[in-house]
């Protein structure tokens, strides 16, 4: 099936999300849609999937113009979509999820469960997905859940499959499996639209690449194009992909975690007997797939959650049981994982957000009264220093872009002398320019002699920032490795494989992305 978009335009208020976008997807091709967060990729795909009504332009299937009133129409036309956040019912089985909305029925309105199971098994066998139709979705690993989504789309006879940021939640090995699946589907004649902002993956798998910037198609590229070229096309200027940093001059380990265990609300250990040391002037990256206890680890350090066992010692003082206020007082700077929920108050002004955990002490207040002038002066200084783009310091923080919100949080947390700096997912959802800035500030903080802990699920970021890397899996630290460890080894460790075994396995078999790394090293810079 040939799919064509002509002059698609979508406007939200004053924002032109899609500006006359032309896109042709040939039968059986993997077409990568590359662009930064907010470039308009998802909007375009939602238009294609019938979720948004375009303000202009048209969609052609096999050269016939079509209009989609909703996803139902799009599915009927052979378009399937796998969303970044899976649309699955966790307590249903795979077969039930696949059948949902299109349940095969027997007489009397009863669901034909056997037929649903057969359908799943059939598709699963055809592509070697290895998915058990009777398994509960909540018991499946993320990578398999994604395959369920793909089966769901294929069961509706999708001939064009849209994958929206499919690798965001996967380990490198899972990504590798996904790439294999994509190639298989391509062999079978299914076209794939692969939405991403990760250059490496695009080069590994795509047949053609269309780059979108600020709602416009800014160019097409061949997968053989060098990464730097793709990056500059995507961002609109030349960018440095790596982080420039001198080797760490690590000092004493002033921050130590020993035997830390945190339970969740139902009594499972989400952080399980963790030991960590962070030295002054080094960045320790905590790597791992989302949801393996990293969040709880940082929250326990800050005192947001109470550990059931263990000690957290900063500069010789145990922080356990002290609460958040005490931890901040001890000199912890904390950038939470979810900035819009935990980092800022959207309905508060930028200037108030810049003193959210500092307002109770001079110079921002005296005797319980806020010093508005001091707060304003602080804001004026910080927004220049951290390049926060805002109309005014009195503007509501919620109106800022993600990158600028993150800069507000960073500006606040770095605006006092720190004894420990913790940042969770510091660059998630940010544009390349902001990522460069954030990384630079983090390295500067390290060079000031502050022990730094970064939690990241992005291997690129882990490798770029880490002086040492602690890999977490199911609440435990699988191992602490040097910052220049092989990508494949890290990927295997993120799946729970111990270090020695991971090294051995990685030597035998390189993933597609791991090979790309090696190639990149061999290529002259």
């Amino acid at each position: 099936m040939k799919l064509e978009l002509r002059g698609i335009t979508k406007v939200f208020g004053s924002l032109v999300a899609n500006d006359h976008i032309d896109l042709v997807i040939e039968p059986g091709e993997i077409h990568a849609l590359l662009g930064e967060n907010g470039a308009g990729k998802s909007t375009l795909m939602n238009v294609l999937y019938g979720l948004y009504d375009p303000d202009g332009g048209e969609i052609l299937v096999d050269d016939e113009p079509v209009t989609f009133a909703g996803p139902g129409d799009a599915m009927a036309a052979g378009i399937g979509m796998v969303h970044q956040h899976f649309m699955l019912v966790p307590v249903f089985t795979v077969a039930e999820n696949v059948a949902l909305g299109h349940e095969p029925v027997r007489g009397g309105g009863l669901i034909d469960a056997r037929k649903a199971r057969t359908l799943v098994r059939e598709i699963s066998d055809r592509f070697g997905f290895e998915v058990d139709p009777g398994a509960l979705v909540e018991d499946l690993p993320v990578g398999v859940q994604q395959r369920v989504e793909i089966i769901k789309a294929l069961s509706r006879d999708a001939r064009v499959l849209i994958l929206d940021e499919p690798t965001a939640v996967l380990t490198p090995q899972e990504t590798d499996e996904l790439i294999a699946i994509m190639r298989q589907l391509k062999e079978a004649g299914t076209s794939i639209v692969f939405i991403t902002h990760k250059l490496r993956e695009v080069r590994a798998v795509a047949d053609r690449i269309t780059v979108i910037r600020r709602g416009k198609v800014v160019g097409t590229a061949d997968p053989s194009a060098p990464e730097t070229e793709l990056a500059s096309l995507m961002v609109g200027r030349s960018v440095s992909l790596g982080v420039e940093k001198a080797p760490a001059e690590a000092g004493d380990a002033t921050f130590q975690v020993r035997g830390l265990t945190v339970m969740d609300s139902v009594g499972n250990a989400v952080v399980d007997d963790v030991d960590l040391d962070v030295r002054r002037g080094e960045i320790l990256v905590v790597a791992g797939v989302q949801g393996n206890g990293q969040t709880e680890l940082t929250e326990a350090i800050l005192g947001l959650v109470q550990p059931v066992a263990g000690t957290i010692v900063l500069d010789g003082r145990n922080l356990v049981g002290g609460g958040v206020a005490k931890a901040l007082e001890a000199g912890i700077g904390y950038v939470p994982e979810d900035r819009s929920t935990d980092g800022i108050i959207g309905t508060f002004s930028v200037e108030e957000n810049l003193v959210l955990d500092l307002f109770h002490s001079p110079p921002f207040s005296r005797g319980g009264a806020l010093d508005k002038a001091a707060i304003r002066a602080n804001a004026d200084r910080r927004i220049v220093e951290f390049d926060v783009r805002t109309q005014a310091v009195t503007a509501m923080a919620g109106t800022l872009s993600g990158g600028n919100q993150q800069k507000v949080v960073l500006a606040r947390e770095m605006s006092r002398p720190l004894r420990l700096f913790i940042a969770s997912q510091p660059t998630r959802g940010l544009d390349v320019g902001s990522i460069e800035f954030v990384h630079k500030r983090i390295v500067e903080e390290r060079d000031n002699g502050t022990p730094v802990i970064i939690v990241s699920t992005e291997l690129d970021e882990v490798l770029a920032l880490g002086d040492r890397i602690a890999v977490m899996y199911r609440g435990r630290v699988v191992g602490v490795v040097p910052g220049d460890t092989d990508r494949d080894v890290l990927g295997l460790m993120m799946a729970g494989v111990p270090l020695e075994e991971a090294v051995a396995q990685a030597a035998e078999h390189h993933t597609v992305l791991g090979e790309a790394d090696i190639e990149a090293e061999e290529e002259p810079e």
Partner: protein, 432 residues
């Protein structure tokens, strides 16, 4: 699945920070609070229009003329006009200025009555507004007013102290009474996570029966009386009258205005207020910034209760000094919720909304007396006002107001035109 934010992770048995219901409630509340002044204004207008329809429908003359509407429609419209006109004119004259007054005092009495009636509404509304802004639904002002009245009244008629000191002590007593009563809900929420809506509603009931009971015991009941009424408040514990004995307006009104200023300073200029607002706007970020949500809950409830207690003092030490009865709080505690909503939880707004509701109540009596329009209409109008401000999109749709943040209609039209123009050449190509 792991979509749920993990910030809520806590030890088993630790209280839930906030339930899903609370979050939904917060969202609704925020929508109300962030609706524009224009919406509030139009909500009042819309409610008055609906009230006018009801006044007309209830009017005998209008009903008769409607019977022969097609024979002489002019009769019907005249009757309609005069029914609504007379009723609202009576309402206005009963609430603001009586044009038919024979003496100056009579001319201006209505506005002083309005101010008198609004005093407890403003006090309690300020307290409830603080709660709203801190994300707490304090429905218990009624009970807090009663407890304030009990303690304030008791201090008033039990002790014999010098003028000034006696009043001061009675006022402080009323504030403490309300604060303690509200703190029960605050402490329960902070320590066990008990929902403050349920606890405060139940405490209202407890307070009603508590005062009923106490009025039959020697603690409150006046000696030698069979009725459930306390001794009168002695003059030394009464709020001084502001305009002499011809008017009921007392110092409590000035105190209420003063309280509004203090509340403004507290919420906008103090570190305490910043904590309150932060917890109300985003408890997760507040916690991450080192604030204690539990601590804020206790404080907010205590301050809100103290203000409601002062509302009780306005009654027992000001307006109704002849003795404390079970009806001392009337429905002020519930009306104050409306006042706080209408005033969008801001002090100035609360004062204005309190005056409006005080005026509706004071004028309502005059309207009933003069035109026979039932005072219940006033309640209906009040309820409609709340209904409308609770549904800003409805008001915007009725009055065709632009959606905040969205494009204006002119902009939308321009966009549509541009998009059509853009799409045009493409379709032509296809056709060709």
């Amino acid at each position: 699945m792991s979509d749920e934010p993990t910030t809520e992770a806590r030890r088993p048995g630790q209280p839930v920070l906030e339930s899903k219901v609370d979050e939904v409630g917060r969202g609704v509340l925020r929508e109300i609070l962030e609706s524009s002044w224009v919406v509030t204004l139009f909500a009042v207008v819309a409610a008055l229009v609906l009230g006018a329809i009801l006044i007309a429908a209830a009017d005998q003359h209008v009903q008769t003329t409607a019977g022969y509407f097609f024979a002489r429609p002019s009769d019907f419209f005249n009757a309609l006009g005069s029914a609504v006109g007379n009723a609202y004119s009576a309402l206005f004259q009963g609430a603001v200025v009586n044009f038919h007054g024979t003496t100056f005092a009579r001319v201006i009495r209505p506005i002083t009555e309005t101010m008198t009636v609004s005093t407890p509404l403003i006090f309690a509304g300020l307290g409830i507004g603080i709660g709203f802004r801190a994300g707490l639904f304090n429905i218990g002002a009624q009970g807090q007013i009663i407890l304030g009245a009990i303690l304030g009244g008791w201090v008033g008629f039990t002790f014999h102290l010098p003028v000034g000191l006696h009043l001061l002590l009675a006022v402080v007593g009323a504030a403490v009474g309300g604060a303690v009563w509200a703190s029960i809900a605050g402490v329960l929420k902070a320590t066990t996570g008990a929902n403050e809506v349920i606890v405060t509603i139940m405490l209202n009931n407890v307070a009603v029966y508590l005062i009923g009971y106490l009025l039959t015991t020697p603690m409150l009941q006046a000696p030698g009386v069979n009725n459930p009424i306390s001794p009168p408040t002695p003059p030394s514990a009464q709020y001084p009258l502001l305009l002499g004995s011809q008017f009921r307006l007392h110092l409590g009104f000035v105190l209420a205005l003063l309280a509004a200023v203090v509340v403004w300073w507290l919420m906008e200029r103090s570190t305490l207020g910043l904590r309150f607002r932060a917890v109300g706007a985003n408890p997760h970020a507040a916690r991450t910034a080192g604030m204690s949500v539990a601590w804020v809950t206790v404080w907010v409830m205590a301050i809100a209760g103290a203000l409601s207690g002062l509302a009780g003092s306005a009654q027992v030490l000001g307006t109704e000094t002849s003795g404390l009865t079970a009806g001392v709080a009337a429905s002020f505690g519930f009306d104050a919720i409306t006042v706080a909503l209408l005033g969008r939880s801001k002090p100035l707004g609360t004062v204005l909304a309190g005056l409006l509701f005080g005026g509706l109540r004071a004028g309502g009596f005059a309207m009933q007396a003069r035109t026979g329009t039932p005072i219940d209409i006033v309640l209906v109008v009040q309820s409609f006002i709340v209904l409308f401000i609770a549904a800003p999109p409805l008001v915007r749709a009725i009055f065709r107001l632009p959606t905040p943040g969205g494009p204006t209609r002119a902009q939308r039209r321009a966009q549509k035109r541009a998009a059509r123009a853009a799409a045009q050449p493409v379709t032509e190509e296809v056709q060709a």
